[in-house]
């Protein structure tokens, strides 16, 4: 499965770069992320509880980042599995400034297997898109929070990444095993700060209505027609 898309942040490229390299921020922007464990300089393990369509389930995963070019781009490698299947993916994330805003382009290829492949294939593109969009939307909110001095500014700089796939995770270093200078740590996301299933669905519905402002009127018209028809 190929995944590609972009998202526009009302923030500078440095702000976005810093956010997408901050595990504390990412842990709150990745759908259903329960914890994010840094196990190496650029390597993370995570557990996600995803509750959307065919990708519903608990997933354990490992993410590595390499080829970092600050503040422009990096590559990520994801390897995750759960009760409904597995995912293995590689992707590139690029940031480009445009005026006052920053555009994040993502692209990659994911291999999925198990039930999520055979049962969910026809749904997976939509699910992936929804999860990624809601994740990026949450990220944008977190960046806005940071500007106004909110969360996570106490966290030391380290790397973490949203994954262009329904089973996102965390980050890891390119070659050598975890450098001794890196402190292993575990970020546990409090339940109320997780990007929950409900938030994803709510966000997706909000977006849908924003994109299709006429839709409520169609529903209203249908209901009026239905009631008139029954009344007659």
């Amino acid at each position: 499965m190929r995944i590609a898309g972009n998202y526009t942040f009302e923030a500078t490229r440095e702000e976005v770069w810093s956010a997408i390299n901050d595990p504390e921020v990412l842990a709150r922007a990745i759908p259903g992320c329960q914890h994010l464990d840094q196990v190496g300089e650029n390597e993370f393990e995570t557990t996600l509880k995803v509750g959307l369509q065919a990708v519903r389930g608990v997933y354990h995963g490992r993410v590595k980042i390499d080829n970092l070019v600050a503040p422009e781009s990096y590559e990520i490698h994801v390897d995750g599995k759960g009760s409904t299947g597995f995912l293995k993916g590689n992707g590139v994330i690029k940031l480009r400034a445009e005026g006052d805003s920053t555009i994040l382009d993502y692209g990659g290829e994911a291999h999925i297997g198990g039930t999520i492949a055979s049962v969910g294939q026809r749904l997976i593109d939509g699910a992936a898109k929804t999860l990624i969009n809601q994740s990026l939307k949450a990220l944008a909110a977190l960046i806005a929070d940071r500007r106004s001095g909110g969360v996570a500014d106490t966290v030391p700089e380290s790397l973490a990444v949203p994954i262009p796939a329904p089973v996102p995770t965390a980050v890891a270093a390119p070659a050598p095993p975890p450098a001794p200078s890196i402190e292993r740590r575990k970020i546990v996301v409090p339940a109320h700060e997780q990007l929950s299933e409900a938030a994803v669905v709510r966000g997706a519905i909000e977006d849908f209505f924003t994109q299709q402002p006429w839709l409520p009127w169609v529903v209203v018209a249908f209901l009026i027609g239905y009631i008139l028809g029954r009344w007659k």
Binding site: G85, H111, I112, G113, A117, S118, V119, Q121, R122
Partner: protein, 788 residues
């Protein structure tokens, strides 16, 4: 005791006696069976199409309350892999069959890796999710042709280039010569896509083991319980055949998928013996889709040679047959014996040659599916005939007519190593179908409709099939790899009350055999239809038989019954002569009564004779008591039903959507015992075949993931998608068997896919479309129209 003179009921459309029970939910299917203390199995299946298993950790699953045990392939090394019983086509040292559970390597998605046994199904399912299996993924190949190319991932060490077998038939030199000197040749790549049989009931097995006697009882969703008993005991477990009893309860459709020996039979037996408790496994739908057998999946290059005036001179075919990750029970026999040997269809083709390469790939096993090889053959020749007719600008009906095997040619040897076609008269069926379709006026109507932007197409399919598998004279031949004739058995007993019990190795799972067989018995013995009971499905209590598939149950199984009835009648005549104090030679048996020729008023009924035989106090010297006779029937030849189907479609060129306007089926299945059941079989078969043309396709992605893994993704037609079918018949009784029957179970499927595709392509002729692959989905049709 008297019996009134009865009307014959053979040939009457009486309703199926099995239906009231089945359609009111009173049948007993595998999942209805519950035994005391029974454990339930859930399987851990591979999400990878090709991988090495590096570790299996069941601790979390075993810790779950209600879980009794978890077993893996390593636990079951004391039993053998499942056998391949039909190593057709010179398969030699590269047979690879599945084990009860995978050992070391998995070769297709859904392959069973571990079994969890628990007190109920839900616990087992939840616990299966807790079994941690680590895999090292290996490269994957799903396409049969690509699997044979250099550098392709290898599935089995003993099968270089993943080749199972290279098989051919016909005369290559002669075919090459025909092509070298041909006036016209046409060539087309033809893909017969992979299908999933989708019986309404999925598969399963329940085993009870008796420690005291060492006997297993296995309830199974099987079309062939006697064969399963043989394979499981002699090949898998190495125990005496007599230590296993196999029972097929009501079976909810099979379409071939339930002929074969499956791992669940073996692992439920193994676990029941190990744990001393009954063990049940029933697959769910997506397991059925991933792990039970699929059908078809051929990639073919077909060439046809002929003269400019429509005489076919040669046929050359090269096929890659995808057999999946392992060989299923009779897999190699399907694209060889049942395909290549019938490729020339109803036509006299003087030079034909077929080469088949059987291939392992990282996909589910492929084996017989309704029609089994013959739909693939029939699709190919009928598409090529249309392609040829288009090339020489001749009416496709005329090309068919011109090349038909003629009535005087029978018995006909097609030169492809098939037994001689027994009988046939193809032209009347074609004419009848053309008349019903209004063919004479159709072309004008079609041209007018095109002027108005309506694109109509008419497709013809003239077919012959091979039924009544399988005579020892055919499959027992050297090189066919089977080595045993597929005979069938029947025992008939007339009890002292005059009630008749028939046990047979044939067994119904939708064919209405209880009804058809009872009709034959009632007429032959002259007893009331309701006095006849047909019993089947249990190896304890039925004589050894090969089961029900290949349109064989009436032709072979029915004839076995007929032979037992003949023996009963002979004995009845002897006893009647004794009772009437007459000479046996003077006794006539008619309408259930035996009397001395010329004096029917002093008759003994079959009931009176049976009573006498059972009481046994006055029998002729040397005669054994009871009317009880068993027969085993090995048919001398196959039967060759035939017919012509015509369909008319309308293609919406804006959307690519196809509307099936008419479907006409003229079939000749010989004598019909029950025309209503024949019609039902034809209807079901046609819908299953046209579904291949328009809807169904099992799709694996490049990673070997089955994308069409549910009924939401795999398009089984619903009643709304089925056309009104206009049926008619010609009757050419088969000379092969005394009933004159030919078989009707697969005819519809064998005829219909190409019938619809020919119509679709005919409709698209104005756009220059000469061929397209199945299924003709709106997207493909639209692309064909727009040359995309």
């Amino acid at each position: 005791m008297t019996t009134e003179i009865k009307e014959r009921i053979v040939g009457r459309s009486i309703k199926r006696r099995e239906d009231p029970k089945l359609i009111t939910g009173k049948g007993s299917y595998i999942d209805d069976i519950k035994l005391a203390g029974m454990l339930h199995v859930a399987l851990v299946r591979s999400p990878y199409a090709h991988a090495t298993i590096t570790s299996i950790d069941a601790r979390a699953a075993l810790a779950m309350p209600g879980v009794v045990a978890v077993f893996t392939g390593a636990d079951m090394l004391d039993i053998n892999p499942l056998p391949c019983a039909w190593a057709a086509g010179r398969v030699k040292n590269n047979v690879n069959t599945p084990r009860a559970l995978a050992v070391g390597t998995v070769r297709h998605v859904g392959e069973a890796v571990a079994m969890v046994l628990a007190e109920d199904r839900y616990i087992a399912r939840d616990a299966a999710d807790l079994v941690e299996v680590e895999y090292d993924a290996l490269p994957v190949v799903v396409d049969a042709k690509k699997a044979t190319e250099p550098g392709a991932p290898q599935l089995h060490e003993n099968a270089p280039q993943n080749i199972v077998m290279e098989w051919d038939c016909g005369d290559k030199a002669k075919a090459d010569a025909a092509f070298a000197s041909a006036e016209v040749t046409v060539a087309e790549p033809i893909i017969n896509q992979r299908l999933i049989p989708t019986p309404m009931e999925t598969r399963g097995a329940i085993t009870r083991y008796d420690e005291a006697t060492g006997e297993f009882t296995v309830w199974m969703t099987s079309q062939a319980p006697h064969v399963m008993r043989l394979l499981l005991t002699a090949f898998v477990f190495g125990i005496p055949e007599t230590k296993l009893r196999c029972i097929s309860p009501n079976v909810g459709g099979g379409f071939g998928q339930k002929i074969f020996c499956y791992n669940d039979m073996a692992f439920t037996m193994w676990a029941a013996r190990k744990l001393g408790r009954p063990v049940k496994f029933v697959e769910d739908r997506s397991e059925n889709y991933k792990a039970s057998t699929h059908g078809r999946d051929h990639i073919t290059d077909a060439e046809l040679a002929g003269t400019k005036d429509g005489r076919i001179t040669g046929l050359r075919v090269k096929t890659y047959a995808n057999l999946g990750g392992y060989l299923s029970t009779i897999a190699p026999g399907i694209p060889t014996t049942l395909y290549g040997r019938i490729l020339s269809g109803v036509y006299k083709i003087p030079a034909a040659y077929c080469h088949v390469t059987g291939v392992y790939t990282n996909t589910a096993m492929v084996d017989a599916y309704r029609g089994a090889g013959r739909p693939e053959a029939s699709y190919l020749i009928e598409r090529m005939i249309d392609r040829y007719a288009g090339e020489i600008g001749m009416d496709p009906a005329e090309v068919r007519r011109k090349n038909f095997i003629q009535p005087e040619d029978f018995p006909y040897d097609n030169g492809l190593g098939m037994l001689p076609y027994d009988s046939g008269n193809y032209e009347p069926a074609l004419d009848k179908a053309l008349a019903m379709a209004g063919y004479a006026d159709f072309r004008t109507a079609q041209a007018e409709a095109r002027q108005n932007g309506t694109y109509l197409g008419l497709g013809i399919s003239s077919y012959v099939e091979v039924c009544g598998v399988a005579p020892s004279a055919w499959v027992g031949l050297a090189g066919e790899g089977w080595g045993a004739g597929l005979f069938e058995s029947a025992n008939v007993r007339v009890h002292l009350t005059g009630k008749v019990a028939v046990t047979t190795g044939s067994l119904p799972h939708g064919q209405g055999l209880e009804t058809t067989f009872a009709q034959v018995v009632a007429d032959e013995l002259g007893v009331p239809y309701d006095d006849v009971e047909i019993q089947w499905g249990d190896t304890q209590g039925t004589p050894f038989g090969y089961g029900t598939y290949g349109s064989r149950s009436l032709t072979v199984g029915g004839t076995a019954i007929k032979k037992s009835l003949d023996k009963i009648k002979e004995k009845a005549k002897k006893l009647a002569a004794h009772m009437l104090e007459a000479n046996e030679a003077d006794i006539v048996f008619e309408d259930g009564k035996a009397y001395v020729k010329g004096s029917p008023d002093k008759a003994k009924t079959i009931g009176e004779i049976a009573l006498q035989a059972s009481l046994a106090y006055s029998l002729p010297a040397g005669m054994e008591p009871f009317l009880d006779e068993t027969s085993y029937y090995d048919p001398p030849n196959c039967t060759f039903p035939f017919g012509t189907h015509i369909s008319i479609v309308e293609v919406d060129i804006e959307t690519g959507r196809i509307a099936l306007k008419r479907y006409i089926a003229v079939d000749d299945c010989g004598n019909q015992i029950n025309p209503l059941i024949v019609q039902g079989q034809i209807h079901g078969g046609i819908v299953q075949g046209l579904a291949q043309a328009l809807y169904e396709r099992a799709v694996y992605d490049e990673d070997g993931q089955l994308l069409s893994g549910t009924l939401m993704d795999y398009a089984i037609p619903t009643a709304e998608m089925a056309p009104h079918i206009e049926t008619a018949h010609t009757v050419t009784p088969s000379p092969v068997n005394p009933l004159g029957v030919k078989g009707a179970g697969e005819a519809g499927t064998i005829a219909s896919a190409q019938c619809v595709m020919n119509a679709v392509i005919d409709a698209l002729a104005p756009f220059g479309v000469k061929h397209m692959q199945m299924p003709a989905t709106p997207e493909r049709v639209w692309k064909a129209i727009h040359g995309a």
